[in-house]
Every structure is written in structure tokens, then in C-alpha cells.
């Protein structure tokens, strides 16, 4: 399927793209646009104004994906809390990883084109997911 989002992906959009490929649509193809008017008809928008898979009720797009696809993996919800705090900056959750991840993703988007940002951040989210999965199983931080 084709998925479309805004150009210059930071933490929410890159995390959503990772989630899509790994848990929802392994064949996902990503397009980037500057304006909602440029969305192709055959593509599903996310993290864009007016889209279903976007910010709603004070939640970020990553949270919208988890709800829409009924993903209840605790490690994914841990990532959701980090992405939420990084993206909305409202300190709603205790997620000390958020400011660091936010800076890394903003910086990456400064030096690499959109597609590269997704390719490079994917393994980072794989690692974050693995770490948080182990933490969830152990009930404490893994070594």
C-alpha cells in the first residue's frame, strides 16, 4: 500500500513508518508531500491535518495507529509514551528518553533526505522496541 505524510519526518512520522512496516503493512511504500492538496488518491495519509491516522484528542499519530489497528503490545505503548512526549512536548508521561530521541530525529532530518531518515531510523526503533520488550518481560531495565 502507498502511505503519504509530510516532508521532513521527525519522531512521530518516523516512528509511524517503522510501525507500519513492522506490524501493519510490510510492503508499505512511503511518499512525502508539502501540502495536504498534494496527496495522491491511491495513498493513505498519516500525521497530516484532517487524516484519521493523525493527532486526535490530545494524542499523537503513533497512538492513533495503535488504536486503529488494535495493537496492545506493552512495548509499543511504551514507545507511544516516548513519541507522545517528544512530539507534543506536554510531559504527559514519564518518558525521559523523549527529549533525546526528539533531538536525534530532528538532527537526522537536517542532514538526510526523507527516505533516508526512515531507512536510518528503522533499526533504531527496532532496538528501542527490543529493549522495551525485554524491560516489560523482566519488570525492570534490561542490562
Amino acid at each position: 500500500m502507498k502511505w503519504v505524510t509530510r516532508s521532513g519526518p521527525h519522531v512521530d512520522r518516523s516512528a509511524c513508518a517503522w510501525l507500519l512496516v513492522r506490524f501493519i503493512d510490510p510492503e508499505a511504500e512511503f511518499l512525502f508531500v508539502e501540502d495536504p492538496d498534494e496527496i495522491p488518491k491511491d495513498a493513505t495519509p498519516f500525521d497530516m491535518r484532517g487524516a484519521e491516522l493523525s493527532h486526535h484528542g490530545g494524542e499523537c499519530s503513533f497512538e492513533a495507529f495503535l488504536r486503529r489497528y488494535e495493537l496492545d503490545d506493552p512495548a509499543l505503548w511504551s514507545i507511544a509514551r516516548i513519541v507522545h512526549n517528544a512530539d507534543l512536548e506536554d510531559e504527559r508521561y514519564d518518558a525521559p528518553e523523549a527529549p533525546g530521541l526528539d533531538v536525534l530525529m530532528r538532527g537526522l532530518a537536517m542532514v538526510r533526505p526523507d527516505q533516508d531518515v526512515l531507512a536510518l531510523s528503522g533499526p533504531l526503533y527496532d532496538g528501542l522496541y527490543e529493549y522495551l520488550s525485554r524491560a516489560s518481560e523482566l519488570g525492570r531495565e534490561p542490562s
Binding site: G8, R49, H56, G57, G58, E89, D90, P99
Partner: protein, 158 residues
């Protein structure tokens, strides 16, 4: 400052009731440090982050049954812009001043509560810096006051 910059403006109207969306919007605008130009009109210096944040707020107003339009614009004169900038800088300066006061006052607290205060003040400093769009001169002293408190906590631990 010479010339005027581009600002992102949010014009909005929310129903008086329920009050929850109004309070949520007010909190978000406060967190962003937006300048309230008129009732229902706020502004921030435009960059990709401020624009995105106001776009999400515009959507949340629409979802709550209100009206919202986002504009990009420039103040008509440099003097008008200066007026807005000075007001925003003043608001942030007051926040820094309160933080310095708290950091200084807490130096007489017991070590444990000093450490907790330090964690809170660091978080608050980070939040204030994020909405300090025009580099208020009190940023340096505020940071120094918090770091002085950090040093006093470290000395106790050592």
C-alpha cells in the same frame, strides 16, 4: 531588530461550554509561549515547529466544534513587531526570574529536597527555554542558578 519576521497566527473561536477543550487549548498556548494578540487571536514567530504545533491546535479546536484558521503573516511595522516581541520576552523573563528565586531559596533546604527541587527546576528551565524565542538575557543567569544548585547537591553526595 531590523525589518519584520514571519509569524504564524491562529484565529480561533471555541464554544463556551464544555470548558475542557478551552482549558486544554489555553494550557497548550501557554506551554508554547504564544502571544495573545486579541481575544481568539494568537501568534508565534514562524518556524516548522511552531507552525506544526499551531496546526495541531487548530485541528483540536475544529474537533471540539469550534472554528480555527491558521495564517502566515508579517506585522505591518517593525514597531508593532517590537511591541509583541517585548511582551513575549517580558513574560519569559518573569519565568526565569521566578526560577532563579526558587533555585536560590532552595540552597537552604535539606539535601534530599534540594535534589528533588533540582530535578524539577531543570525540567522547568528546559520548558522555558523552548518558548524563549527571542533569547531573553535572563536565560544565562537562570541556567547558572540551576547549575549552582546542582553543584551544591553534588558536593553533598561526594
Amino acid at each position: 531588530m531590523t525589518g519584520v519576521g514571519t509569524w504564524v497566527l491562529l484565529a480561533y473561536r471555541l464554544p463556551r461550554e464544555p470548558s475542557t477543550p478551552r482549558i486544554a487549548l489555553w494550557r497548550n498556548l501557554r506551554r508554547l509561549g504564544a502571544a495573545q494578540l486579541l481575544d481568539g487571536l494568537v501568534a508565534l514567530p514562524a518556524d516548522s515547529r511552531t507552525r506544526e504545533q499551531l496546526e495541531w491546535l487548530a485541528d483540536s479546536v475544529l474537533e471540539s466544534g469550534g472554528e480555527a484558521i491558521l495564517w502566515m503573516g508579517q506585522p505591518g511595522t517593525a514597531a508593532q513587531e517590537r511591541g509583541i516581541v517585548e511582551k513575549m520576552r517580558g513574560a519569559v523573563a518573569a519565568e526565569y526570574a521566578r526560577l532563579i528565586e526558587e533555585a536560590t531559596a532552595s540552597s537552604s533546604q535539606p539535601a534530599g529536597s534540594r535534589k528533588r527541587t533540582l530535578a524539577r527546576l531543570r525540567r522547568e528551565l528546559r520548558q522555558i527555554r523552548r518558548r524563549d524565542y527571542f533569547s531573553a538575557p535572563q536565560a544565562g543567569p537562570a541556567s547558572a542558578a540551576v547549575e549552582a544548585l546542582a553543584a551544591s547537591v553534588a558536593n553533598v553526595a561526594a
